[in-house]
Assembly symmetry: C2
Homo-oligomer: 388 residues x 2
């Protein structure tokens, strides 16, 4: 450790190139022409510096990354994909610490420093996914936050709630949910169970909501109500929230105001052709918007490469963002927005922040999203963990 | 020239690895364990071999590729983008032979061997775009087919039709159109002018159709009618055709049957969040589906990298294609479908075809689309034009 000086890059948000002085695991100072006697110096002229990328929504435990190609074998229905997952995961050795480690290494090399991953928990797999993710995370310089996730149903799959509770007792710090109406069939009870656990364990909540249109919008209302009542502002995220893209603009604004007031974040992965929540409307209302990959090379779909700049591109592209400041909204979701949703302290490029950074050869952040060059330097807790 | 033997790759469509014997600019034979005394041998074990990628819809003349980053400066309306284009193109030196050449070199390195590009023609720019594209194309091993394109209106911009005619006389072999209703305001006359030119010059037709829903669907009917009447089967393409994604399934099937019977191709770029034509429905009806980039790094939008495997990924992804055979439908649009739309003779991997090939490190074509590895070898007319 000691002093490290990044010379001549363009920290995101600064009007001109500036040096970044890192001491141990913290940013000590940011400014022009810094002098730090005895510091190691990295010349990063021509590079944009971003805070470490945050993948706020993925499924590490399911991944087949790094192994041989596995052709997708499910039919085109959600029920088909769920059944296929249950049928094939053990045959394919999922969850696999080796595969998860391979993916985390790739993510790290792409500049990701923090990940929130939804780990399947059900009576069949038990807590093996949680353990595999923990084992993998211990080997890679990425901070991994797990969500205890009832992928195959909470109320409909007896024994799952007890296992989620067990995971929370064992140190998992967030509890998940999934389509309280569309999959679990009883939105009020589903949400009461989850929010009850969050309250008992001081846990975060992160709910998968694919339920469409007015149904999904109504469920968002239930989530707002519970978050307010329990005072969980800043600790609740709704993931996907496709419904947002399927309702009128007035209703979008009304719901955005409700989320902002309750302190609920939206996480989106901009997947396939599913509706993308209206990033600009949400940000204007003051809602935290985070971005993630969703599944990467797994039984649910073959896509994904672990690069959050590519994911930010997908979000910007699907949002029809063309101007630099708009593209930066998507990048913000893959950085600051994710950090806020995950509750990361001391995140960013200001003095005092943890020294988690990535430098890419680009003239501005929007160009970095569009061109996605190799990450020249990735720094985690003040240490260069990747360079190319 | 002479004999070149590609040893041990997996030609797309073959059940097992096979050798490809190239003599001069043609594929001489494809089979297991070929013996060709005196041939140069390339060991391509572990590689999938695809026919040269075909970008069936782009706008080379507009590109800023290879130059400094230009922040997008138009507002969010189509009228705003059109006005911004007219205002800024000369300031930025567009069309630029240098920029077009840079982009074509990138496309070639990504395995593209054939391109159809829509070149702006209007009273202000005249035929300078056509000439710039010709000059650039002469420097790069990519076959470029131009469409004389009335980007800023045909009937609404007097003098444009005469310039299109001039371009066709000067050797441009396809005539374009754009939103006969939504932009040009008179669908019947717009189409009559274009189809009249096509008839007089034996030219192909390729019409941009962004007009939505029932309006666009009705215009597709007009195009089918004219294509049939003039016997232009195999020589007409409708690009984008967003309307297809906005009408009911029965109407989609009815229109697809009409297109198939008339011999009209659909070209899609799967851009932003615009509706993607239903690839599977179209292919099932027998319609040729092609794929292209649309604009790449230009005043209309900052995205695009020139890689048709990435474009095929976007098409597959937006079509929610997960299974290998579905992903291959998207890849087919970026290869065989494009070749059919462009009317390329002797295209493919069979003996007798032109030796335009690309080899990528992947176990199957679907993996190549998902992972998009560097192109290990690109072969054009029997010559290795790129290797990495």
């Amino acid at each position: 450790m000691g002093d490290l000086l990044l010379r001549g890059g363009r920290p995101w948000g600064m009007p001109r190139p500036a040096d970044i002085w890192i001491r141990d695991d913290r940013i000590q100072n940011v400014g022009e022409q810094l002098t730090v006697p005895g510091a190691d110096v990295l010349d990063i002229h021509g590079h944009v510096v971003l805070p470490g990328l945050v993948d706020a929504h993925c499924h590490l435990d399911k991944t087949l990354y790094g192994g041989p190609w596995v052709p997708h074998s499910a039919d085109d229905t959600l029920a088909g994909r769920m059944a296929n997952d249950l049928r094939r995961r053990s045959e394919l050795g999922i969850p696999s610490t080796e595969r998860i480690t391979a993916l985390l290494r790739r993510m790290s090399a792409c500049g990701t420093t923090h990940v929130r991953t939804h780990t399947d928990i059900d009576p069949e797999v038990g807590l093996r996914g949680v353990e595999a993710v923990q084992e993998a995370a211990a080997q890679v310089p990425v901070e991994v936050q797990q969500v205890a996730f009832p992928q195959h149903g909470l109320l409909t799959r007896p024994g799952t709630a007890e296992l989620l509770e067990e995971a929370l007792k064992a140190g998992v710090r967030a509890v998940g949910g999934i389509d309280p109406a569309g999959i679990d069939g009883d939105p009020v009870r589903h949400l009461d169970v989850i929010f009850g656990m969050a309250e008992r364990h001081g846990a975060h909540v992160d709910i998968h909501l694919h339920d469409p249109g007015t149904l999904g919008a109504w469920e968002l209302g239930l989530i707002i109500e519970r978050t307010r009542t329990l005072g969980l502002a800043g600790r609740v995220t709704v993931s996907h929230a496709y419904a947002f893209g399927q309702i009128g603009e007035a209703e979008q604004r009304r719901l955005a105001d409700g989320l902002a007031e309750a302190g609920i974040a939206i996480a989106t992965a901009a997947v396939y052709s599913f509706p993308v929540p209206p990033v600009k409307t949400l940000r204007q209302a003051g809602v935290t918007v985070a971005c993630g990959h969703d599944g990467i090379r797994d039984l649910w779909g073959p896509y994904g490469g672990g690069d959050m700049l590519e994911r930010a591109m997908h979000l910007a592209y699907r949002s029809t963002f063309r101007r630099d400041e708009d593209i930066e909204l998507a990048l913000s979701a893959a950085t600051y927005g994710g950090a806020a949703a995950l509750g990361l302290p001391d995140y960013g490029l200001a003095p005092g922040c943890r020294a988690d950074l990535v430098a890419v050869a680009a003239s501005c952040p929007a160009e970095a999203v569009v061109t996605r060059p190799p990450r020249s330097w990735v720094i985690r807790d003040g240490v260069v963990v990747h360079s190319s």
